[in-house]
């Protein structure tokens, strides 16, 4: 079985080619200022994106397969391809196997050299001034989570490429079995979580409230469990309609009363389960079946409301936004939200691009998630009454919104004015949220 590892990631759009990473690497690995020793090689040129050559620590490493001396091995613990100086015979066949320029002959030292990941603390990442290089710890998280039981049954019927299924499976693994799950009408019960043929789709208690009363039903259940002296987690897995439109009254009430529950909004920007109707979370310009594109109308005319911000204004115990392209960030927030839900109301807003309803290829879901964040269309932050709002990922140097929009069919018809409007909206939202970071505590 394959497994996941932590890894160095490179965001070409953020790299300005300064070369600090190469200098840090040469210094760390050879104590030298000569960049020939750098095991990360960036290739900067005027008027062209910066390209990169370095070891990918491949899952099926050809350098290892090509080594006749058993000197290269993929370390099963760290995932790094380890090079054994005592076994290497300097034949260079590893360099034939590598299609990425990741293992190369260093004439100055007389043998091949490659990135060893600096034992999980890469020198290049630490000095990168633009955030183009990052060290992703999602791999070790996946490994940790994979050791826990999947509390949904196999065979949920989500659409191909749906990240909601990925999200809820990961979430429940982490929450554990001491839980009652509420799934109001939407894609999540629609894919079979509440059950079919007389059985539930989960291995834990689950129920199907109305769109309108999810938060209040959970509040009642929690009170009863408390009365019995049992500490049970109350978890809502709701769509954006069940959160911000029809479900808002009971949600707002529960937040205001600081009920002990974790309310998770899976935001796919509309009523995707019932035929892609528009919701309060649908961004301006979006095609939906109720905001069509034609002579009279060019998609939705009004902006989406920012539900996470609205929940923050309730001064909940914990509020956070998350994206599945940044799992390490999500897990950190899920842990905090779970902890907060023991004290009072915790709200997680996870953005969930929908291949079926938004019209993009099923294989692109995570990339769409990533572009949402990289363009600031979605910002990652969390809030507690003590800390106020804190960005968990920098909003500096975003890519233009067009990079995000062009991937998605529901925005295909947008004219420049509409794109400009969305760009302004993104910038306004960021400015508004930045203002909250300057306040010590909301109140």
């Amino acid at each position: 079985m394959g497994t996941a590892y932590n890894s160095i990631t490179f965001n070409q759009a953020k790299c300005d080619g300064c070369g600090d990473c190469m200098r840090a690497c040469a210094q760390a690995k050879a104590g030298s200022e000569d960049l020939i020793h750098a095991r990360i090689q960036i290739l900067a040129r005027e008027d062209a994106p910066v390209e990169l050559a370095m070891c990918r620590q491949c899952g099926d490493p050809k350098c290892v397969s090509n080594c006749p001396a058993g000197a290269l091995n993929k370390n099963p613990e760290s995932g790094v391809i380890d090079w054994d100086a005592n076994k290497c015979v300097n034949c260079l066949l590893c360099t034939v196997g590598c299609a990425y320029g990741g293992i190369t002959f260093d004439a100055a030292v007389g043998h091949v050299s490659k990135c060893d990941g600096c034992d999980g603390d890469p020198a290049c990442v630490k000095v990168c001034p633009t955030g183009a290089l990052e060290y992703s710890t999602a791999g070790s998280l996946y490994r940790r989570i994979s050791e826990r039981e999947d509390l949904f049954v196999p065979g949920l019927s989500a659409c191909q490429g749906c990240n909601s299924e990925l999200l809820i499976r990961h979430t429940l693994r982490n929450v554990g079995s001491n839980v009652v799950v509420a799934t109001p009408p939407g894609c999540i019960p629609g894919m079979g979580t509440v059950g079919y043929n007389g059985r539930t789709g989960t291995k834990v208690p689950v129920f199907h409230p109305l769109l309108t009363n999810t938060a209040s039903m959970l509040a009642g259940l929690k009170k009863q469990y408390n009365r019995l002296g049992r500490d049970v987690t109350m978890l809502a897995l709701a769509g954006d309609g069940g959160v911000g439109d029809v479900g808002f009254q009971s949600l707002s009430g529960a937040a205001e009363r600081n009920e002990q529950q974790l309310f998770l909004c899976v935001d796919n920007e509309g009523y995707m389960n019932t035929g892609m109707q528009s919701s309060g979370s649908t961004p301006a310009g979006s095609w939906t079946s109720t905001t069509p594109v034609g002579e009279a109308m060019q998609g939705k005319r009004t902006d989406a409301k920012n539900m996470a911000k609205i929940m923050m204004m309730h001064n909940c115990e914990y509020v956070a936004t998350a994206s599945l392209a940044f799992m390490d960030d999500y897990y950190e927030k899920l842990d905090k939200a779970l902890e907060a839900s023991r004290r009072g109301f915790a709200y997680l807003h996870v953005y969930a691009p929908c291949p079926t309803g938004w019209r993009f290829p099923a294989s692109d879901t995570i990339e769409v998630c990533r572009k949402q964040v990289e363009t600031n269309f979605v910002t990652l932050w969390d809030f507690t009454p003590e800390q106020g709002l804190r960005f968990t990922r920098s909003v500096e140097r975003p890519a233009p919104i067009s990079v995000y929009l062009k991937q998605i069919g529901k925005y295909k018809h947008l004219d420049q004015a509409q794109v400009d409007h969305l760009q302004r909206r993104v910038e306004d939202q960021v400015r508004s949220l930045q203002a909250f970071t300057h306040m010590s505590a909301a109140g």
Binding site: M1, Q41, L43, R45, P49, E51, L52, A53, K62, S65, N66, P68, A69, G70, N73, K87, V89, N90, C91, L92, L93, T95, V96, G97, C98, A99, Y100, G101, T104, F105, A107, G110
Partner: protein, 418 residues
């Protein structure tokens, strides 16, 4: 009868890579590896380093001791394959035991070609193909004073360097006018030959051993120009040929090796072949060739394994490209693709500096890379191999590529297939 779902004959790169590919898709189906050799799996490529002492014979295994148990791969060692029984889906081994298979991979590799030199059969000469050969050569080198090496291919050249470094007077006899034909052109080969000259190795180019005569303490090698070389150690490195003796009467299509299609399948059902024993499509022509090189054995082994396990991600073989790396006296030689061409439509750019021992030759045709060979030039052979296989159009970056193949190659890689 013994039975294994996947039966693999051989235990070097192609065999091991196939087993890995099979286990990726089928974690329960029985896999059995049969080998003539009794040692833990090793690569023939590492043998010169065992001779030189750079590698110790007990540390050259391609897999850790617990690998086969962990992957549930059964091993039968010390048994050569003697007969194929395709009608029964079975093979027969040296000692008569039979194995039934559902899928069979022949990765039996190659064995040294012994030239028909009169008298050779009466000499205790050395070859270098197995670990036992390497240990024997290493031991013989410890006692020898004069050595003759027949052949200036990779085995001969590595052998000559090792023996010379051990303080032995070495002569290399090569029929062709240059060393390492096929990987380097005459100019590059001359640079390599000169390095051996400087180290005191006598290079007899364009010479043929006419007969060999046993002596009390070795032998006497008579060359075609009348010269006579005395040797107490004779190393024969005149090439290898696929091991196919067990194929007789099986109905398997053979030429120089076992003929295979782009999924490494032979003409018989449920039998595949890969590595040095296989004869597969050439990249540059429709001919089928035995490439006999390590990276290709890995590639073919992986494809065969994926085909045997019906891996849906299987992509057909893209054709054999001659490719090699060769280090000699601390210098690095690399050859990817063709190293010479008679094609007048090809563009050839050579950068040569005998003083610095530097050589770089790039062959392009129709804006596509055909081959690059170099000595002491920093290059990424793996990237260049991909540029050839992908037939990447270099027309727009041609000047840049010719001036800086390393950087331009990396940039193309990062932009194209990262």
């Amino acid at each position: 009868m013994n039975a294994s779902k996947y039966l693999i004959v051989g235990s070097s790169h192609a065999a091991l890579e196939a087993a890995r590919a099979i286990r990726m898709q089928d974690d329960a189906g029985s896999i059995t590896l049969i080998s003539r050799d009794t040692h833990a799996p090793y690569s023939p490529t590492v043998l010169p380093y065992v001779v030189s002492g750079r590698s110790s014979a007990d540390r050259v295994s391609l897999r850790t001791p617990d690998y086969f148990q962990a992957e549930a791969i059964n091993r039968v060692t010390g048994q050569a394959l003697t007969r194929l029984l395709p009608a029964e889906q079975a093979v027969e081994l040296e000692d008569g035991q039979r194995w039934h298979y559902e899928k069979l991979l022949l990765a039996t590799g190659a064995t040294p070609v012994i030239p028909p030199v009169p008298g050779l059969d009466r000499i205790d000469y050395r070859v270098l193909r197995t670990l036992d050969d390497a240990i024997a050569l290493r031991d013989a080198a410890g006692k020898a004073a004069n050595a003759v090496v027949l052949g200036a291919g990779l085995v001969g050249m590595h052998g000559a360097e090792n023996l010379a470094e051990a303080g032995i007077a070495v002569s290399v006899v090569e029929m062709q006018s240059q060393v390492l034909p096929g990987y380097f052109d005459a100019q590059a080969a001359e640079l390599i030959r000169a390095a051996f000259d400087r180290q005191g190795v006598t290079m007899k180019m364009g010479r043929r051993a006419q007969r060999v005569e046993p002596q009390a303490d070795g032998c006497r090698v008579h060359l075609d120009n009348g010269e006579v070389l005395n040797a107490d150690l004779l190393l024969v490195g005149t090439g290898v040929r696929p091991v196919t003796d067990y194929c007789q009467g099986s109905g398997l299509d053979l030429d120089q090796g076992i003929l295979v299609d782009d999924h490494m399948a032979t003409n018989l059902p449920n039998i595949w072949a890969a590595g040095d024993v296989a004869q597969a499509r050439d990249f540059y022509s429709d001919a089928k060739v035995v490439t006999g090189i390590l990276p290709d054995a890995v590639e073919q082994g992986r494809i065969a394994g994926m085909a045997m396990v019906e891996d849906p991600a299987l992509q057909p073989y893209r054709g054999g490209v001659p490719i090699n790396t060769y280090t000699f006296y601390g210098q690095q030689a690399i050859s990817v693709g063709i190293s010479d061409t008679a094609d007048t439509a090809a563009q050839v750019a050579v950068d040569f500096d005998a003083e610095r021992g530097y050589f770089q030759k790039i062959i392009l045709k129709d804006g596509r890379l055909q081959g690059i060979s170099a000595i002491n030039a920093a290059l990424d052979p793996g990237i260049l191999w991909q540029l050839i296989l992908r037939r990447t159009d270099l027309s727009e970056v041609k000047a840049e590529f010719l001036a800086q193949p390393l950087e331009t190659g990396r940039r193309l890689m990062s932009d194209t297939w990262r």
